[in-house]
């Protein structure tokens, strides 16, 4: 829907992909564990392998005293709510992760 304004109101996004160069924002969400009150946003390189994201997650979510890093190896993944069996060697982009995508896992 167009904004009703006194002129053609078409201001651009201030979070657009172009502002992040070779990186893109990615939201990582541990679904079902509200100890992390919300998903976390990261500026990940587009070409970063998915496996590197998993590696970072193992460190990041260790803030939860009950977290077992090994459990991530069997996590169920989804990107933008579509289930995904990630190719750990392939890049985020190749795994369908775009700018401001929601990468979620359940363990």
């Amino acid at each position: 829907m167009a904004v009703t304004a006194m002129y053609d109101y078409n201001w651009p996004s201030r979070s657009a992909a172009e502002f992040y160069g070779d990186a893109q924002l990615v939201h990582v969400w541990w679904k079902g564990n509200p100890f992390f009150v919300s998903a976390a946003t990261f500026p990940f390189p587009k070409e970063m392998p998915f496996g590197a994201l998993v590696g970072l997650c193992k460190e990041f979510f260790a803030a939860d005293p009950d977290f077992d890093p090994a459990s991530m190896d069997t996590a169920r993944w989804a990107v933008d709510k579509e289930p995904l069996t990630p190719d750990m060697e392939a890049s985020l982009v190749a795994n369908g992760v775009g700018h401001k995508s929601l990468v979620q896992f359940e363990i």
């Binding site: 006194m6 109101y9 924002l25 079902g32 100890f35 992390f36 976390a40 946003t41």
Partner: protein, 510 residues
Amino acid sequence: MTVSPEKPARKLSMKQRYSALTHDLDWAPTYVQEEEIFPFTTFEGIKVHDWSKWEDPFRLTVEAYNKYQAEKDRRLYAVLDGFAQSQGQVGLTDARYMNAMKIFLQGIPVHEYNAHRNFSYLARYANGPGARFAALCQSMDELRHAQTEIHTLSHYNKYFDGMHHWHHWTDRVWYLSVPKSFFEDAMTAGPFEWLIAIGFSFEYLLTNLLFVPFMSGASFNGDLPTMTFGFSAQSDESRHMTLGLEAIKFMCEQDEDNVPIVQDWLDKWFWRGYRLIALVAGMMDYMHPKRVMSWKEAFELYFEEQMLNGLFKDLEYYGIKPPRHVQWAIDEKEILSHQVYWVLYQFSHAAAFSTTIPNAEDQAWLEANYPETWPVFKEVAWDKAQRVMDAGGRYFNPGLPQLCTVCQIPMGFTEPGNPLVQCQRQSVYEGERYDFCSDGCQWIFDREPTKYRQAWLPVHQIFQGNCGGPGGLPAVAEWYKLGPNDGAEYLGSNDQKNWLAWHGQTPKEA
């Protein structure tokens, strides 16, 4: 001229006199077109046929306004002076109470001030003299509120951290973008939308929740100055509520075609305002050491009973329905404050207030007031946070949160009926994804995507290097100008140390 020996009684009634002193000052221009003088009141599509139908039941004149406002301020400043002279801060329930007032100072006066500026816009550009004068009085009031709030908290600033740089923080720090984006959203709208946004939805529907139980709570916690300014501000607020109510009725009565536009604005601004005052829910239930009533009870009393059962029955007459997404708000009343405080707790290392785990007394109160939701929340959140604490740590979230594009609160609100799973909504507009915490925020974005995609989202800006460059959190904190004592954990904080010293205690005794 003949002079009668006995003066007759005043010949003009209060209403006629008010009309002579306000409405009658106006005239229809003939040297220029009316729309040249009032250029902003047509583009929104609101049709007004007769501005003289705008009613102001208060019928204040400048003389009466100055007289009563001067008296209110005399009383208020006497309380402030007395409190400062007697070192009243020593008599608060606890220093951690001050954290609520830190958020208040950082997040409220600047927006009272914004309201002042935009009511000046209405006072200038509304076509009708009645509406303009009511707006001018409100502009003055809002300036008053900004200043009395600053002056009230000025004394506390001398003795507590987390207040001294509020004006710098308010334009920059992440959680303060929540109120900032709310008011800037309203200020960038046209004059009629502003009236529905702030005049009606915020002032009439929602500010009671901010001011009444919260200020009563201040009194309960020994904060007499805050109670006094709060109630004093509220006495102006009743005029503002009246303006808001008049605004919605006026628009609906002027033309049937206005009703759907007003309904859309009401739907938008109810949700926008409700999300904003979620912060108050967290402050009331978790940051006040002693509580008058829970958020849930306040919501039932001041929103469900007064507004849904009272006001909206009245507005049915015009074809106005209760706000879209109101049921979502009702469903959230059991859980809202837990989620908000949990956000504040885990990100207070990057904030100008401190937080701490609710103590045994707090927990008993939470259990009694939220018997359904507190035990669930306690288990997944606070028990774990306590274990981290017991092991010598302090749980802070190691990252930056995903923010809702519209309300800008970290996306910690959960799906209705499922307190363990956060609500995730996404829209794609012109190829770009946007995230939302709720159906309400998503609906608002989808109506006006080219407005909300401009949002200066703090997390996104940090990653663009616009908040102190690429140096990570330390660089951001420096750019925020946060001092070492302004945030993080309350226990062991400078505030707590001072508090204990004032009371002749050491941390161990506490």
